[in-house]
């Protein structure tokens, strides 16, 4: 592993501990980058994120849009010749970015995840309609997908009432120890 940045070992070790992944095995063949369906929406290619951590460029990696745009489809990790779980690294970096209060490059994506977990906390299951309403309301953008939303309601693709878990205490327990 090439060592350059001063803080390199700190972040590298932390991400290793968080994700359980030894990404120093990455030799930048770019197989992940070539396979990624969402490359165009990212500021740094997936292998470059690994490179940034190897170089100790902590902030740049945590501030990137890449760590949020990655949906964890595993296209990259299933073809990585070194079997590096790249989506798990992205998970680790997202957690780190939240923990350190870094300015999130893709606040909409974080806001969406937060709304999803809010409905899971409330009902034990996701409730798409509520997630979308709250997400759009927070964004002050009620119009962009209105037509699609109405069409989905018409086609009964969005349940009006949430499906709920009966054992509320169990769900509370899961969310309390976070």
């Amino acid at each position: 592993m090439i060592k350059l940045g001063q803080n390199q070992d700190d972040l590298a070790d932390e991400i290793k501990a968080l994700s359980g992944i030894n990404f120093s095995a990455c030799f930048h063949c770019r197989t992940c980058t070539n396979a990624c369906p969402f490359l165009e929406g990212m500021d740094y290619a997936p292998n470059k994120i690994i490179r940034l951590i190897q170089f100790g460029q902590e902030e740049t990696a945590l501030k990137s849009s890449t760590i949020w745009v990655c949906v964890g489809c595993n296209t990259c990790s299933s073809c990585c010749p070194m079997a590096i779980d790249i989506p798990a690294i992205m998970d680790g970096l997202r957690h780190k970015a939240i923990e350190k209060g870094i300015k999130i490059a893709e606040p909409d994506i974080l806001s969406f995840h937060t709304e999803v977990l809010n409905t899971v906390k409330k009902y034990g299951r996701t409730h798409k309609l509520e997630i979308m309403m709250r997400y759009k309301l927070k964004k002050l953008d009620l119009l962009s997908d209105m037509g699609m939303g109405l069409n989905m309601l018409k086609k009964r693709k969005l349940d009006l009432t949430p499906s709920k878990v009966k054992d509320k205490k169990a769900i509370e327990k899961i969310f309390k120890d976070r």
């Binding site: 968080l18 369906p37 969402f38 165009e40 929406g41 745009v69 949906v71 964890g72 489809c73 595993n74 296209t75 990790s77 299933s78 990585c80 079997a83 590096i84 779980d85 798990a88 998970d91 997202r94 957690h95 939240i98 893709e106 909409d108 994506i109 974080l110 806001s111 969406f112 995840h113 937060t114 999803v116 977990l117 899971v120 034990g124 299951r125 996701t126 409730h127 798409k128 997630i131 979308m132 997400y135 962009s144 997908d145 699609m148 069409n151 989905m152 086609k155 009964r156 693709k157 349940d159 949430p162 499906s163 878990v165 009966k166 169990a170 769900i171 327990k173 899961i174 120890d177 976070r178």
Partner: protein, 296 residues
């Protein structure tokens, strides 16, 4: 025993298979037509699905994205709910990934196993089998239930779409791969497969909500490539993929997208199409009528 109406020949009827069924939020709350046709299909092929009592969300992409502990505990509770001795069948690829990954993690970590047992008050079931819906094609033979399989979806030209479901992270690399199972099954039923090279391209999952532009680009590419290959419809095995391919496609007159379970049920002469197809955004009825696969 099932008697063939034409020949009077007695078919072998395999024993009933019983599974706990984890529907997950996508199938339970927005892909109702997927769930309905899946249940019908299983019923016709002598498979009993019993919904897992009081299951919760697997955590989906959001939990592991922003909270490690919640991402681990949501699947853990589900695992603790599965009755002993009954395999757990999951139809949503993403739920399967979350649940199986967590199950194997507990299995390989004594400390975590202890934590699981203390927290959920259940001994960890070392023998629990967690399978995807595709696995049933290794356990049943469609031919045992269909008299003339080749005539069922005759000449229907389909583009099969797996999305990310065949891509496994390194911790699941030893799991069985179901690559080609939809092609194999649908060809057996008389359908023609249109190869188009985009069947394993991810649909964008939640980017469809949070970054619609990105999802739209990938969805349009998938649908248009399938159309260029001459497909009359796309076939999905994931409710989430189905939704994205329908709602984020902006090309003119796109081909419809059918759930794999809908085609399977149709091949078994289930006549519930009127409950499923009105829930599709792109109406598959005209195309299926043209092919003579439905009459009304």
């Amino acid at each position: 025993m099932k008697k063939s109406s034409k020949t009077g020949e007695i078919y072998y009827k395999p024993p009933k298979l019983k599974y706990s069924f984890f529907p997950g939020c996508s199938l339970k709350a927005s892909g109702h037509e997927n769930t309905m046709s899946l249940m019908k299909f299983c019923d016709r092929v002598n498979i009993e699905l019993k919904e897992l009592e009081d299951w919760n969300c697997c955590g989906s992409s959001s939990a592991h994205s922003i909270n490690h502990s919640i991402a681990e505990n949501l699947p853990m509770r589900n695992i603790s709910l599965v009755p002993k001795g009954v395999p757990l069948l999951i139809a949503c690829p993403s739920c399967l990934l979350r649940m199986k990954s967590m199950y194997l993690k507990i299995k390989g970590d004594e400390a975590l196993k202890q934590e699981y047992e203390n927290r959920w008050g259940q001994p960890f079931d070392e023998e629990l089998e967690i399978i995807h819906f595709f696995e049933i094609f290794s356990r049943i033979r469609l031919e045992d239930y269909i008299e003339n399989p080749r005539g069922k979806l005759k000449n229907l030209k389909v583009a099969v779409y797996y999305g990310c479901m065949l891509s496994m992270p390194p911790d699941l690399k030893d799991e069985k791969s179901y690559y080609g199972i939809m092609e194999k099954t649908l060809s057996k039923l008389g359908a023609e497969i249109a190869p188009y090279g985009y069947g394993m391209r991810c649909c964008g999952t939640y980017l469809s909500a949070a970054k619609p532009q990105i999802a739209q680009t990938v969805v349009n590419e998938i649908v248009s490539r399938a159309m260029e290959a001459g497909a009359e419809c796309l076939v999905t095995a994931c409710s989430m993929c189905h939704l994205n391919l329908e709602i984020r496609c902006t090309i003119k007159n796109p081909i419809p997208t059918l759930h794999f379970s809908e085609l399977l049920s149709m091949a078994l002469d289930v006549k519930d199409q009127k409950k499923w197809f009105p829930r599709h955004i792109v109406d598959p009825v005209p195309m299926l009528k043209k092919r003579g696969l439905i009459t009304s």
